[in-house]
Amino acid sequence: MKNYLVKDLMVPISEYATVVLGTPLIEAIHVLERAQEAYTISKYQHRAIIVLNQDGHVVGKISQLRALKAIETEFDFTDQIEEIRKFKFSENYVAQLRDKYRSREKIIKEETLREVAAKKVEEFMQMPTPGEFVSEDCNLDTAIHRLIAGTHLSLLVTRGEQIIGILRISDVFAAVFHEMMTIAENKNS
């Protein structure tokens, strides 16, 4: 297999959708759409937004899941679910209960969507965790281990102290399985 390094597959920060702290959710989504239109190098579109502080340093990330979570109402049953879990009810029962409670409240409501559109990115962004970084000179093995171990959809690529790009799971996936298919074809020919 070709000896890929992280920097061979990463998307540079300059090509990624970025917003600064204080940006409302609706504006962040617009930035994502514009970045998706401009990005033509890969068939895999950007699915996340990087959040920068005023100095341009990466301080967080908003995945599609995070954006949807921002839309989901903060239900008052969350504590009750945690309580039930504490008292040894099965995961099946907890899941049933969560569905039951959730079905009482609609998510897609005009009023909710209007409110959430104005939410600031820092209210729902995901802060980077220690296992979420990878150096640009690391090989792909290291990157794959970190993606799997942390169930991350992307890693932040570092050069020294600086974050210079994003390594997306889709690009790693494409590189690995493209190689796998090439090997299989060579064997058959």
Binding site: I84, F87, K88, F89, S90, Y93, Q96, L97
Partner: protein
């Protein structure tokens, strides 16, 4: 600083060390718990009976107003008006089965209280912990007013007022006010006030939690204040009657008590009462203008006022029944508060199970049909509909069930059977089925019990503490 205060501070620190992971500090709750002046005012007392081995050992402890029976060791502890009842402890050579293991006891079981403070707390039954079958330990534990430690060894725990832990070994746990826990073994668990949890792994799991704002009306607790609420006021109003029975050495005997029944000398009995055969009225119980039918019992800290109990009724530790009619075999669990009104009475049909820590507080007359399970807070018919179910219907549950704030998972039939078996066992050990000299229980054996008192230091640096004493036959 006097020895009593030094000891109390030491106990508080020991409990705090155990609860540090839960980030819980008992200090503000403890501040109002022990009043040093009170500790020298009340004598302690113990029972002497041919039916239970006598082996009491008190060392560097304060025991004001507390009662001891059976084998018990108390070291570096403060007990205030607590009952340490060792009449159900296991005996030497008894075999106990736990899963695939069978253990034979090499000595009699003993209650072992160390570095703990228990206030108006009941300790009863025996250790259900297979790892310590011969020692029912209570260490580094602080229990507040009317807590029940029932068959539940405890290490490093805090029990709020009216908390009950039943047949459960607990380590480093906080049991909130008016919570009832029966779960085999718990560790590092912080239980909110008003949580009712009965868990038998692999069989069933029952959970209910009182709405905090409604529970607060009945029992409230906050740092640096004595507990307050309807349940506290209820007992405070009747405190004087207890004072009388504890102040007098010789009280007049009530002649209308059958020979098969037992009315404890430290129970309050006010006219007009009718007590049938095989009835057990324990100490610190309060019976006023009521009828207790054959085989009924009123355990420690029970109040039965203007009520009729048909017979074979278990009124578990701390339960209260006011203006009620209870049919045959009705079980009322620990610390339940069943409060009817003179013109609007509460009627509970035959065979009902009122779960531990149930509050029924009605303004309109209410009737609970026979053979129902009742739990939680019931103030009217609507709440009864949510918080009750027929035992027959409950027995058909084999997966999950929820109603209001109650959640259940497992086998309803196993749950009902477990309760029914336990009720039968309680009636049996209390002597409810005594006939023709057979099946004697507490009701009959307690008649062969006499009492002795012991006194604390009244003056000096040891004021309120008791001398080290060993009492053996």
């Amino acid at each position: 600083m006097k020895e009593l205060e030094i000891l109390f501070n030491r106990i508080i620190q020991r409990v705090n060390v155990n609860l540090r992971e839960l980030n819980f500090d008992v200090t503000p709750f403890a501040m109002t718990l022990i009043i040093p002046d009170q500790m020298s005012k009340f004598y302690a007392f113990y029972g002497i009976t041919p039916d239970h081995p006598l082996d009491l050992h008190f060392e560097h402890s304060a025991l004001a107003g507390s009662y001891f029976l059976g084998k018990c060791r108390v070291r570096n502890s403060i007990l205030y008006k607590s009952d340490i009842r060792g009449d159900e402890l296991k005996r030497k050579d008894r075999q106990i089965n736990f899963g695939k293991f069978t253990l034979t006891l090499t000595k009699d079981e003993r209650i072992d209280i160390e570095d703990s403070a228990l206030v108006k707390t009941l300790v009863h039954n025996y250790s259900h912990d297979p790892e310590t079958p011969e020692k029912f330990f209570i260490k580094d534990t602080l229990a507040m007013d009317y807590a029940n430690i029932h068959g539940s060894p405890s290490d490093g725990c805090f029990l709020g007022p009216y908390a009950t832990v039943d047949l459960t070994t607990m380590r480093d746990c906080i049991i909130g006010a008016y919570s009832y826990i029966q779960a085999g073994e718990i560790s590092h668990l912080n239980v909110d006030p008003g949580t009712i949890w009965v868990n038998s792994p692999g069989n069933f799991n029952f959970y209910y939690k009182y709405p905090p704002e409604l529970l607060a009306h009945y029992v409230s607790l906050s740092p640096e204040k004595v507990p307050w609420g309807v349940l506290i006021d209820f007992i405070e109003k009747r405190k004087f009657e207890f004072q009388r029975v504890f102040d007098f050495v010789n009280l007049e005997e009530i002649e209308s008590i059958p020979k098969t029944a037992s009315l404890d000398r430290y129970a309050v009995v006010l006219p007009n009462i009718k007590i049938a055969d095989n009835v057990l009225v324990s100490q610190r119980a309060y019976i006023e203008n009521s009828t207790l039918g054959k085989g009924a019992n009123a355990q420690e800290n029970c109040f039965i006022i203007n009520s009729h109990l048909e017979g074979l009724n278990v009124t578990a530790h701390g339960a209260k029944i006011i203006e009620g009619y209870l049919g045959l075999g009705v079980f009322v669990g620990f610390n339940s508060f069943l409060c009817g009104k003179k013109q609007n009475r509460l009627k509970i049909g035959e065979g009902c199970i009122v779960m531990p820590h149930t509050i029924i507080d009605i303004e309109e007359a209410l009737e609970i049909p026979a053979n129902h399970l009742v739990w939680g807070l019931v103030r009217n018919r609507e709440e009864l509909a949510t918080n009750s179910i027929s035992l027959e219907k409950f027995s058909t549950i084999d997966t999950t069930f929820s109603s209001g704030r109650m959640h259940f998972e497992g086998s309803g039939a196993s749950f009902v059977k477990a309760f029914k078996d336990r009720i039968q066992h309680i009636l049996d050990v209390n002597g409810a089925f005594f006939a023709d000299g057979e099946n004697a229980g507490h009701a009959q054996k307690n008649q062969r019990l006499s009492l002795n008192t012991i006194q604390p230091f009244q003056f000096g640096p040891m004021e309120g503490m008791y001398p080290n004493i060993s009492i053996v036959p």
